[in-house]
Amino acid sequence: MPGKLKAKIVAGRHLPVMDRASDLTDAFVEVKFGNTTFKTDVYPKSLNPQWNSEWFKFEVDDEDLQDEPLQITVLDHDTYSANDAIGKVYIDIDPLLSSEAATVISGWFPIYDTIHGIRGEINVLVKVDLFNDLNRFRQSSCGVKFFCTTSIPRCYRAAMVHGFVEELVVNEDPEYQWIDRIRTPRASNEARQRLISLMSGELQRKIGLKVLEMGGNAVVGYLQCFDLEGESGLVVRAIGTACTLEKLSNSSAAAPPACNSPSKDIKEPPFSEDPNPNTHSSGPSTPLKTQTYSFSPSKSYSRQSSSSDTDLSLTPKTGMGSGGSAGKEGGPLKTLLRQQTQSALEQREFPFFTLTSFPPGFLIHVGGVVSARSVKLLDRIHNPALGNTRSYKLLDWNSFAADEPETRDAWWEEIRQEIKSHARALGCHAVVGYSESTSICEEVCILSASGTAAVLHPKFMQEGCLDGYSDPSRLSRQPATFSAGSEKGEFDIFPQSKDSSAALGLEEPSPPSCGFCHIPYDELNIPFPAHLTYCYHCRRQKVPDVLFTTIDMPAEAAVTGKGCLIQARLCRLKKKAQGEVNATAISNLLPFMEYELHTQLMNKLKLRGMNALFGLRIQISVGENMLVGLASATAVYLTALPTPGGIQIAGKTPSDITYEQHISNMQKKINDTIAKNKELYEVNPPEVIEEVIGSPIPEPRQRSRLFRSHSESSDEVSELDLSHGKKDAFVLEIDDTDAVEDIHSLLTDTPAPAGFYSCNTEIMPGIYNWTSGLQMFTSVRVFRLSNANLTNQGLNKIFNDLCENLLKSLYFKLRSMIPCCLCHLNFTVAVPEDELIQVAVTAVAMTFDKDQAQENWKLGADKTHMKAIVENEEQLQFPLELCTESPSTNPFSPCRGTGLQESANAHATPRAASVDYSSFADRWSSWIELIRLKAQTIRRGSIKTTSSLEKASPLPEGRSRSLRSTRSYAGSTVAVVKMTPLSFIPGTRIIKYLGIINMFFIRETTSLREEGGVSGFLHAFIAEVFAMVRAHVAALGGNAVVSYSMKECVFMENPNKNQAQCLINVSGDAVIFMRESELEATPAPPQTSCSGGEVTT
């Protein structure tokens, strides 16, 4: 009996009228946990009942606490017939199980019904008393913290990164159970909601157990997904990165200058990472070889044999640290069979990390994107244990693995193995920015996994890395200075930054601003053709000509200009088919699609004059009669990589003069576009001195022909050269009409309107001075293809227009926020039905300060920098931080490892954010003045935004009664909750993580027209989902959700029957944030004692 759950039902409001006669409702509430149910009294005839119930107490196992949600059902009492349900609230009590998260859940929750949506609100109080349980054979993992955030959460530091954790659970989908043929859809949808809530809880508990086994205390980058496999069942699976996190607190003086010093999100909203130069000096220079993209065709055919052959014996220095401690305590734990086998050894087997940005020094080299796809036929999941005592007690599919060799688990295992071997081929021992996804259509399922092959520093994966911290950090500001100076390629303007680093004796073999670009593989043993040059930044090591990754750009990376969103879009028709035939057809199409997507990406990258992609996400969705591919990434110009060559068009029939003319016209267009783009994105790399090997000037003789996939046999496919490495100019050969179309579509990508930028990573490379404007949004579009006789080309055009128009709509909607950037712009495509394409996008628009962008801050920073240098040691510390780190978005606080400075650090660094406002630089005489300036600026800003609409109206003449006193709208009782897909909120500091939000809703209607058609229906539903997320966050005491994502949006309609149904799954991290300005006002940040309710803005 390790826990007591207590719930109190306080009141309701805005309840619907349930009794038409009286226009009132006789409401009461059922509170259920596990198999125990309590009821409140009926509160008669009111739409705003005040139950003020006693505390309902549930004595439960902590295992149940983790699995089960608290279910609250509001009903209307009816003397003569069955009580009508008004709606339900599911409360995940997991946040209450961790001592560092929320302590009480208290607030107004929307009462939700799958048919009617939100029907009023209910005020609930929930608490948990946990008893200490020393049972080590326990099945629960209470206290393990979960984060959706794919970086080390701010206000924690990673003592150790253990590695990959994964788990999946399987159950029958209630929708497909026989009982549902006689049950109403509403009942089965409610059953589904409850089941998935339960399965998520169980999944989380099991992952938590694995984390405990590994010696960790948290999961970062937790990604949970549902596979609705229809008749064959419901799979809930999750992956994440196990870590040991330590809460940063001001009091612990001995704490080293953690990578996650609380200062970092303040001064540098964009990134949480810091350069760590020493990681490089510790090892020999890395092997040289280049590749950016590992092509891995679906496993159903021609698995690349080279993968395992090229298993190079590299990475000697990193010593395979992943999963470091896992082996230590695997033993005594009695867990499921599978969990045992999955312990230490297997952890090492998959050195995968779901993180997309990293503690300083963690990421050493990046090899390139690795991906794998596999097409599977779903069959019914054999599930013999249904229907005993606990009707929904879940079945772990894994326990039936013995019966069925082809399990979901085995499928993923295969894919992961493939990913791993690809990474090896790239000379990397780890995969970062790792994610998995599926696309299901009827009985066919495409499993996909992708990540970025990387070489990581072992110290984060070994015990004792804490000690390792102080050394590198001491020096870290130097390289940061370097990168600051080089940010815009202005070496010559800021020679002193180099001087200073030299003066301090820092001879870095690979500075963090370019080190990750250096190839990890052996130059002489590249598994693919590649074009290598010496790094344009440090000139010491080899870099590839382009770099594709799935991670966020490292904060310390040196970039030129700004980045931009790039998308490759592709549709492929396929014949309708069943079973094996269908799966084979899909398998055969996949490599062509990947190839074309890749080609498009490469073309578009060159067209923008850039050389690297971050946050690459390739999605291929399967429908009955087509496949849709969408690749999104954020393109940047990495200073370390060579200038990309242009795109050259070559005609096939040179005899024809008009044709030649046509070609040269197109060539001109392309050249113009490249020039325009370079200007637009401020891509002005420094003139390259021609000592570098390889010339950036196009050499026509090196052209290679682009394969048109439909003309190639699959044999050729496996030989595809995807590196595009051997040539500088990228040649498009026009050999058919397709190519012409391609070029047209290349050129029809309209750039974002003036004042807008967009990226699919956390923040936009090249923008540093975010202001407080923030607008998270979700947009969904479904298109119907009305003509059945579409060609691939026609389809491509439609799909392309669809995405372009959606983007245009977003820009238009958000135009009032200019200058602003759409960040984390992530598209999800689906083919829900025969002729439908669905695109869903969730992103955040953030404003930034245009005037103080670019040159200004750099000048300011630099002046401060110079000033700092002449000042004495004590003073030096902070200004140095300001100037060196902030411009390069480097939040690392280089405290010298003495306890004394720690507290100072904690206070000072938040203010350091004022680097944003560095246009005032010349007036800064010390960092204190700088702080003052900052505070003023912020205050000014906030006054503007909060000014209320108080109208000056003439007082009534006749009577002197006061008319102004009673206006109440200013006193809204609803706390504002911000939502963002990013892991931070600019200008604020996250002071507490309250727990993970993972919610699943189904909404259905049988009166589609009356609810405004499909758009009206979905619009209302998404608004309701937002509202429920906000309410749960507010009840936890939070004022924001970070790392928010909508992972599932499955929409089905039947207009003929006037019906529709939608299923949405969202997740994120509930947090309390404080504005920097508030923090400045408060001498000591209320790190530990702050109770959430007070901190709402």
Partner: protein, 360 residues
């Protein structure tokens, strides 16, 4: 290519995005197509390199949002407490204020009419006459009716009650008070002779009546205090008749006024000639006010019995003011007249109403 159609298109922001201009189109009852057309003409397309398609999508989206908000706007206090839309307080105030705003042309058509189903049925005529869309007319009418129903039975100040329940600005709350007051007392405002008066003229008069002639003017804690006229006072008004029935008093009153005005106005002769007619007019209006039917005709009577004669004699507003001041004050000197308090309460309102209603 025309091969695709948008089946579904939604945009939902965590903070609800609303464009005031589009909101106005929605309030004005535009169709989406009309709103798109007007927006395009307004040049919004250039703002952000948008296409007609984009504009259509945006307009649809916002119209839908407003429609979903409408339920909440019917009870504005809910808007602040609801969880569905996250709308900053000043935007909430804007939404409410604009929702309850009305067109002067519309309100003139229904001012003083019973806010009943019958009147609502006639709204298409009003729409045709005023050029305001039927949808907008209905919204405005329903707003009047909703406010009326809520405050009808409440104690306390009408304006304050309206403000409290509907969170309106002072100005708008006072306008609604006038509308409610007129609807409750069914003042005739639609006659041709009254057409020249604006809603604001009437609203001003309403404030005068509410502040001086209602129950609330004497006792501010009774029900309907601001909506119903003080019956006792109306009864007492009968006593004023002596001013015209008593010949001596009438003559004395006239000579006092004439003495005071001699040489001070260009229309002295006309005034002198018309004094008895005018005085009879004003006093008769007072004496009849105890009948509900005559209350309704209060404004038309003022126009017919006083304003029109003066206008035909080309009195200026200054002349009117001068006359009414002395006409009112001279009565204080009549020692046989015992109803000074009632007289002042009556004339105070009548004077300011006439001054407002007398357009040069």
């Amino acid at each position: 290519m025309g091969k695709m159609s948008v089946e579904l298109d939604v945009f939902v922001g965590n903070t609800t995005i609303m464009d005031e201009e589009v909101y106005q189109f929605w309030l004005d009852g535009y169709t989406v197509a009309d709103a798109v057309r007007v927006r395009m003409e307004g040049g919004v397309l250039q703002e952000c390199e948008a296409s007609a398609e984009v504009l259509h999508s945006d307009t649809m989206d916002q119209f839908r949002t407003f429609q979903m908000c409408e339920r909440l706007l019917h009870c504005p206090s809910k808007l602040a407490n609801q969880l569905l839309f996250q709308i900053p307080p000043h935007r909430q105030a804007m939404l409410i204020e604009r929702y309850y705003a009305f067109d002067d042309a519309f309100v003139r058509e229904v001012l003083g009419k019973k806010l009943s189903k019958g009147t609502k049925k006639d709204l298409d005529d009003v729409s045709a006459k005023t050029g305001i869309t039927l949808k907008s007319c209905r919204r405005q009418f329903d707003n009047f009716k909703r406010v009326f129903k809520v405050v009808e039975e409440l104690k306390g100040s009408l304006v304050e009650n309206i403000q409290q329940h509907f969170l309106l600005s002072d100005k708008l709350a006072r306008d609604y008070a006038a509308i409610v007051f007129f609807a409750n007392n069914r003042f005739e405002t639609g006659k041709r002779k009254l057409q020249y008066l604006s809603f604001q003229d009437f609203a001003f008069c309403a404030v005068q009546l509410i502040n001086n002639w209602t129950v609330g003017a004497v006792d501010n804690m009774v029900e309907d205090m601001d909506v119903d006229l003080d019956k006792e006072f109306l009864q007492d008004l009968k006593d004023l008749k002596v001013l015209i029935t008593d010949k001596d008093m009438l003559d004395q009153h006239k000579s006092l006024v004439c003495t005071a005005l001699r040489g001070k106005t260009k229309v002295f002769n006309e005034m002198e000639a018309n004094f008895k007619n005018l005085s009879r007019g004003l006093v008769n209006i007072a004496a009849k006010l105890m009948n509900a039917k005559d209350v309704r005709d209060f404004f038309i009577d003022l126009v017919e019995k006083f304003i029109e004669p003066c206008r035909s004699d080309r009195w200026t507003a200054g002349d009117i003011k001068l006359f009414l001041t002395h006409y009112t004050n001279s009565v204080h000197i009549l020692d046989t007249f015992k109803h000074q308090v009632v007289w002042d309460r009556y004339m105070g309102v009548v004077k300011s109403c006439i001054l407002k209603m007398y357009h040069d």
